[in-house]
């Protein structure tokens, strides 16, 4: 990133400088120039045209903006893009491999784990993070550790079933 900013180093407050940020997004190196207040969510959607990640509440309450940063699930709406310079980002667009759906994507189809679909990219990225964490085993534990993802259509029972199926599929592969 450029070092043109002056916070903490000068008493005046000049106009904010746009900052160059390098991100690995779904395996592809991307460079973008953003204002400091640009969230990772807005950077993905508005600067990189990756609109799979959704803006729901924009306050970290709904989980629609969930992406994986260096393998961990986070709310991209509460993350500044400049703070993730050099990070590896995985969005819902990056889960499928060579034309094959990710086991979670297939499981969500198999279990009809959505209605309107708006929360689904966040649900799937969150579930990918949950499976990588390896802490949730029972349905109760899946529900608790998925509670940061709201589904206003109320597809929760099918979402839990889909995650259980994907956990089985992925455990069988490894």
């Amino acid at each position: 990133m450029t070092q043109a900013n002056t916070v903490g180093r000068a008493p005046t407050s000049p106009a904010p400088t746009k900052i160059l940020v390098a991100l690995d997004v779904n395996g592809r190196q991307r460079q973008l120039t953003v204002a400091p207040w640009t969230t990772l969510l807005d950077a993905l959607r508005d600067h990189l045209d990756l609109t799979g990640t959704k803006k729901g509440c924009d306050h970290g309450q709904c989980g629609a903006c969930t992406v994986l940063v260096d393998g961990r699930r986070i709310n991209s709406c509460l993350t500044l893009a400049v703070m993730k310079d050099g990070a590896k980002i995985t969005t819902v667009e990056g889960l499928a491999t060579e034309g094959a759906l990710h086991p979670l994507q297939q499981a969500f189809i198999d279990h009809d784990a959505f209605q309107c679909g708006y929360c689904t990219p966040g649900q799937i990225c969150s579930a990918a993070g949950l499976i990588a964490e390896g802490k949730a085993k029972s349905a109760d534990e899946i529900r608790e550790l998925m509670s940061g993802n709201i589904c206003r259509c109320g597809a929760y029972p099918n979402i839990v079933a889909a995650i259980q199926q994907a956990m089985g599929t992925m455990a069988g592969r490894s």
Binding site: N5, T6, V7, G8, R9, A10, P11, S13, P14, A15, P16, T17, I19, P36, W37, T39, D58, H59, G60, G63, T66, R72, R73, I74, N75, L78, T79, L80, V82, M83, S126, G129, L130, E133, K135, S138, D140, E141, R143, E144, L145, M146, S147, G148, N149
Partner: protein, 338 residues
């Protein structure tokens, strides 16, 4: 959000120097609360000093048998760290009761201490709030105050501190290590947060130019007899109406050392040495627990919509102490309260 400048601190000394140069700037680590408050125009820093890459991410045993937690350890990593799971399960359970996994992955240990109240009037810049705008008045005292404090309130503010983690840290007698221009100092956890009195705009006794570097736990972690019970409007991902951290040592049926701290009831995690004294040396039974609850709540005061919290806290204290005594801590995934 208003315009702001952004810069990264290279080390702790650099961070302290930068904040001294520009006192209207703020440190940012996880950002889960600060970014949200900036979107609402509640916080309007001139700049953000990014401390997220500083080397404060260790969880290490100390020479006296305790554990030192770096200020930038994410809440999720802390909850699931083997030293915490084995020796301080009360802290693990309190952390896992708070927020969502996405937020816990982002939120730092130091930042958790510094999160602001979730009082709706504090967030709504169209309403008076002494915490947001000193001297403007308190909208909650005569307003919708169902989630507000029942202990340690003032005529200026009845907001609560929102953290679960801090309730456990208060119960466990943690210490907070900070660094400022004058060097390092250590604060007892119960001295870190403050009551609102006439200056509710000040949440803590941390000086504006100081940086939290670590939280230290003493050796005693009460891994056998503990429980964290969080009572809220929905069963997950909601702030506490009342939460209770209880821990004790038991010899036969008699209580040795005991700890009791409450969240959701005051401007800071609420601990009461008189209530803990009433537990020490007594039989671990309902009568003892009820006496401790009555002592802790002796000065509790309800407002129009939150008087229910006094009874809720009393029952919750008795239930949580019972869970601790029976070594059946409240599960954070099976929501049944037993």
């Amino acid at each position: 959000m208003i315009n702001f400048q952004y810069a990264r601190a290279n080390d702790v000394a650099d961070a302290v120097r930068m904040i001294a140069t520009d006192p209207t700037a703020k440190f940012i680590a996880g950002g889960t609360n600060l970014i949200d408050l900036m979107k609402e125009d509640v916080e309007r820093p001139s700049g953000l000093i990014d401390i997220s890459r500083l080397p404060l991410k260790g969880v290490e045993e100390t020479s006296d048998g305790g554990v030192r937690i770096g200020a930038l350890v994410p809440n999720s990593d802390l909850a699931w760290h083997p030293l915490i799971e084995q020796r301080y399960p009360l802290l693990r359970n309190a952390i896992l009761a708070g927020a969502s996994q996405q937020l816990r992955n982002m939120a730092s240990t130091g930042g958790n201490l510094l999160q602001r109240t979730r009082c709706a009037y504090f967030y709504d810049i169209a309403t008076p709030c002494n915490k947001r705008e000193p001297g403007s008045g308190c909208s909650a005292i005569g307003g919708i105050n169902r989630i507000h404090a029942i202990l340690g309130t003032s005529e200026s503010c009845i907001a609560t501190h929102p953290s679960d983690m801090c309730v456990a840290l208060a119960a466990l007698d943690a210490k907070v290590h900070v660094t400022g221009p004058a060097g390092e100092r250590v604060l007892a956890f119960t001295d870190f947060h403050r009551l609102p009195d006439s200056s509710p705009q000040t949440d803590t006794n941390l000086h504006p130019n100081e940086l939290i570097t670590a939280v230290e736990l003493p050796a005693k972690g009460f891994p056998a007899n503990y429980s964290y019970l969080k009572i809220r409007d929905r069963l997950s991902y909601a702030f506490a109406l009342v939460s209770i951290a209880a821990a004790m040592e038991l010899e036969g049926g008699t209580i040795g050392e005991a700890r009791l701290a409450l969240g959701g009831v005051a401007h800071k995690p609420w601990r009461d040495s008189a209530a803990e004294s009433a537990l020490r040396g007594q039989p671990a039974n309902q009568t003892t627990f009820e006496q401790a609850a009555d002592i802790l709540l002796r000065d509790a005061r309800g407002y129009e919509h939150n008087t229910f919290k006094i009874d809720l806290a009393r029952r919750g204290i008795v239930r949580t102490l019972t869970q601790a005594a029976q070594a059946t801590p409240q599960s954070q995934s099976d929501k049944k309260i037993r």
